[in-house]
């Protein structure tokens, strides 16, 4: 009698070692962004070029603030994972690792900076 089930033998194998987790995460975040981005583009585009008090008033309102936060969190994670795929396609070894660490760090810094600005404006 075999104690290892067929599933147990398959998990962790394959090219990615993580099955479809990466692809599924990109699918989920892309659907989320499909709802968030059009409205955010409208709000950001309308605020861009306005006077300073108008910009502050815009991003102090709940909808623009929450929407911008969501776009930053979901969007930067989507970017980091997508950029990782690109890097994995074209580079290897230490270069690959350094670039993957760089894009994950960059997207985290951008998201954190944007969230800090939002908190400062909205609260």
């Amino acid at each position: 009698m075999r104690y290892l089930t067929a599933r147990k033998q398959a998990v962790g194998r394959g090219a990615s070692h993580t099955g479809t987790a990466h692809h599924w995460s990109m699918t989920v975040s892309s659907v989320g962004l499909a709802f968030l981005v059009p409205l955010w583009v409208y709000i950001f585009g309308s605020a861009l070029g306005q006077e300073h008090p108008v910009v502050l008033a815009t991003f102090a309102r709940p909808l623009p603030a929450i929407l911008t936060a969501l776009v930053l969190i979901v969007g930067m994670r989507h970017f980091a994972m997508g950029a990782t795929v690109m890097i994995e396609d074209y580079t290897k070894g230490t270069t690959r690792k350094m670039l993957v660490i760089f894009v994950i760090s960059l997207s985290t810094v951008v998201a954190a900076t944007g969230l800090f600005a939002l908190v400062r404006i909205a609260l």
Partner: protein
């Protein structure tokens, strides 16, 4: 170190492994990019990657502008000056098209993931849809905003 290739008899031979590598190196690499006729499906696919990754520049400029707005009127004047200059217009207009292209191409990916639209005629039609649709949506957005 890579595992050695077994011979027909099943005996591992380092010399034969080297020869196999030499033969492999002589062959042209797929997909022969220099002589390959560019196809719409390939162009629209790589554009998805290019637009998605290039969007980081637009988002950095946007976040910097927002940070400046949160900091002080003086700093906002600097960032707003850059964001509304010809350079800012270039980055944001390019980003706007990139957003819409990546948006439509992403929807196409979700449709492809259901196993549909993968025949050549439909795939090319959807490709033209992404290119034309992204331009139309970009112009519409500029007109509305």
């Amino acid at each position: 170190m890579r595992p050695l290739r077994p011979t027909v008899a099943g005996i591992v031979s380092e010399k034969e492994s080297d020869m196999a590598d030499l033969k492999r190196a002589e062959r042209p690499l797929s997909p022969h990019l220099q002589i390959y006729r560019p196809q719409l499906t390939a162009i629209t696919s790589i554009l998805t990657r290019i637009t998605g990754n290039a969007l980081i520049f637009g988002i950095i400029l946007a976040v910097w502008w927002l940070l400046a707005a949160a900091t002080s009127p003086g700093y906002f004047a600097v960032a707003n000056g850059v964001a509304t200059s010809w350079f800012g217009d270039l980055v944001f207009t390019g980003s706007l098209w990139a957003v819409w292209y990546h948006y439509l191409a992403g929807l196409r990916h979700l449709y492809f993931d259901t196993g549909q639209g993968l025949d050549i005629v439909t795939a090319e039609r959807l490709g033209w849809g992404c290119i034309g649709g992204s331009v139309v949506l970009t112009v519409l957005t500029i007109l509305i905003i």
